[in-house]
Subunit: 347 residues, 2 copies
DNA sequence: CGGCGATCTGTAAACGTTTACGGCCGGATG
DNA sequence: CATCCGGCCGTAAACGTTTACAGATCGCCG
């Protein structure tokens, strides 16, 4: 394999030193004549700088990593979709780490920061930020943005920013809406309680009920996984235990899909008999029938905010940690509104 | 910012040379005693090797890039989802390039290979492989896998493999199915003709009709974009021009979504009045109502095959180009089968 | 006890850049 | 004409590894 040209090759051909070549290529002030000779040689040789050598010298790789649980999850896809163009615009490449939600993998990525193969990291730890995460972040000495919640007491020097959403408010919005359309027996299909979203949504459900003056009833709560089939199982269990349920609050859109499957299978009308609300407001929500009312936790906004914070730190140097909070909102669709309203909604 | 420890730091602390440190860390035969001293020092200092320096010396980055039109497209998500774990397993990191389908961006990525920031590339060019693509691939001198079609006459030394699917057969399967359930006026909602899939599917539609003994009728064809709203527009146009259409073949699932929107809006029963078939068999297909019969072009398989070919080349050195062909199949769901059949389908 | 071979270790070069520093040359100034 | 200053340029070091090569050390044998 013929090795490509280097600045040394160019220097020889142009009859100058490698320093001059480098200066010309980097646009530093140089005599007109030298510039021409170097440019000519570089063109003829089809020179392309070696990014690895440059990185070694410059101590920066122009690469940023994004680590999340599962690239198949529409929430993360939405984030990547926002992050990628922002990074590209700023001259960074994007690396993807799908951690399967394994804490071990997350820690691996964080520790890997010390290998210096990226200049920064955006990470969304599924089960929250443990002490080990914190240690790794501090040791990394490379900026990190955590999407999700972060302990109050981060050590001083940690180069970390935080983007979070307020799923409590999100759940509250949904329950208020259900209450407003007359629902009183509102079931809750949640994900695992040892995940951050799961725990937060469980608490939020309870609080929101209370605020509405509705009783909390354990029988109305079912815990499963954040997947469609798990959602179906949970819905089936809940419906057979409490047939009179008139609404289902689902901790994520996939769970809601499973619930819709079961309701259809059992011939219950949505939203006539049972109203359904999902969470995350993914692309899927506008595709189901009926279309799915869903709490938007602003995935796109969170992605943008994370990229923004990271780039700011990389470009403007150290500053104290910041927190960006994205406000949830409720997108009302067919699964909670009686026919007559247009289902619509473009992609 | 305190600089991290390097092998020099370790060498000093352990009282040996950097060569010994490197040998120990790479597991080369070394005296027991030296090994212990080095390991100890490395542990105490929390040493982590600098991957950039290593890459410069080794001439490999352990990184692989995947370039596709849009990370928001479920087809590519499915591919990434398969590619990522295979690469990780083999010790490679994954970089993502979303090119927006701009040929300029695709070429940028290909040319970027010469910067040597990745060891190989998987690319899925939306508008086909032009002469410029070929040039860049040859110049790259790094292995490339093209997902999609590749010219017959690639130059000798090109380090390129190819993964393709057979959308002709895919379209044929769909039309045969529609014919079998008695449909005779089968409309076709296509994407842009200057994209590879668009052109191939247009030809395939024509051929398949012929094979079935059905006439080709221009009025039954509508060309738009590969998006939902564009699909809706196209469906609306087609339905008003030819009200008697009894089936719609859609060049992609998103287009099919748009068609379903319009059919519902016009009160036409699916599949009673109009049967609908999508293409790509994305996650969306099992979510719609009715669920969507769709031609699976094996996105997951294509992703796996591409990763496999690339890794093989990286691990086993040069060999002649290979082509992997993934066979399409038809997933029959509610949009072409009369009620009674279970819609079902887990995620 | 000298010499030989086998092991292990250290020196130094290399990967391809960027950049501090000092040298050289030209012109302007006293 | 000597001096100084400024603009360009080349030499060399640095980034942190890996590895070829040669030197050192040791045991063993003759």
């Amino acid at each position: 394999m013929t090795e490509g040209p280097t600045i040394t090759t160019i220097a020889q051909r142009a009859g100058v030193s490698i320093a001059s070549v480098s200066r010309v290529l980097n646009g530093l002030p140089t005599r007109e004549d030298t510039v021409r000779r170097v440019m000519r040689a570089a063109d003829e040789l089809g020179y392309v700088p070696n990014s690895v050598a440059r990185s070694l010298r410059n101590r920066r790789t122009d690469q940023i990593a994004f680590a999340m649980a599962d690239i198949g999850n529409p929430v993360y896809v939405a984030m990547v979709r926002e992050i990628q163009p922002l990074l590209k615009e700023a001259g960074y490449r994007l690396l993807i780490h799908s951690t399967d939600g394994q804490a071990e993998d997350e820690l691996g990525v964080l520790r890997g920061l010390r290998e210096r193969y990226v200049d920064g990291l955006i990470i969304s730890p599924l089960r929250g930020v443990t002490e080990e995460h914190v240690e790794a972040i501090v040791a990394a000495r490379a900026p990190v943005v955590v999407i999700g919640s972060l302990p109050e007491d981060m050590p001083e020097g940690a180069l970390v920013d935080n983007v979070r959403t307020d799923s409590r408010t999100g759940v509250r919005l949904a329950l208020e809406h259900l209450h407003a359309i007359g629902r009183r027996r509102i079931g809750f299909l949640n994900g695992p309680l040892d995940t951050v979203p799961g725990a937060a949504r469980a608490a939020a459900y309870r609080e929101a009920l209370e605020a509405l003056g509705l009783p909390y009833d354990e029988d109305l709560v079912e815990v499963g996984d954040f997947y469609r089939d798990s959602g179906a199982r949970a819905a089936r269990a809940l419906l057979s235990r409490v047939p009179g349920v008139d609404a289902l609050m689902c901790a994520n859109d996939l769970i809601a899909l499973g619930a819709l499957d079961v309701l259809r299978e059992q011939g219950r009308d949505v939203p006539g008999d049972v109203a359904v609300v999902g969470m995350d407001d993914t692309d899927l929500a506008s595709v189901t029938w009926p279309t799915l009312t869903s709490v938007s936790l602003g995935s796109a906004e969170r992605g943008r905010a994370a990229a923004g914070l990271l780039l700011d730190r990389l470009q403007n140097g150290p500053r104290e940690p910041r927190v960006a909070v994205v406000r949830p909102s409720l997108t009302i669709r067919g699964s909670t509104t009686l026919p007559g309203t247009s289902p619509g909604g473009a992609r």
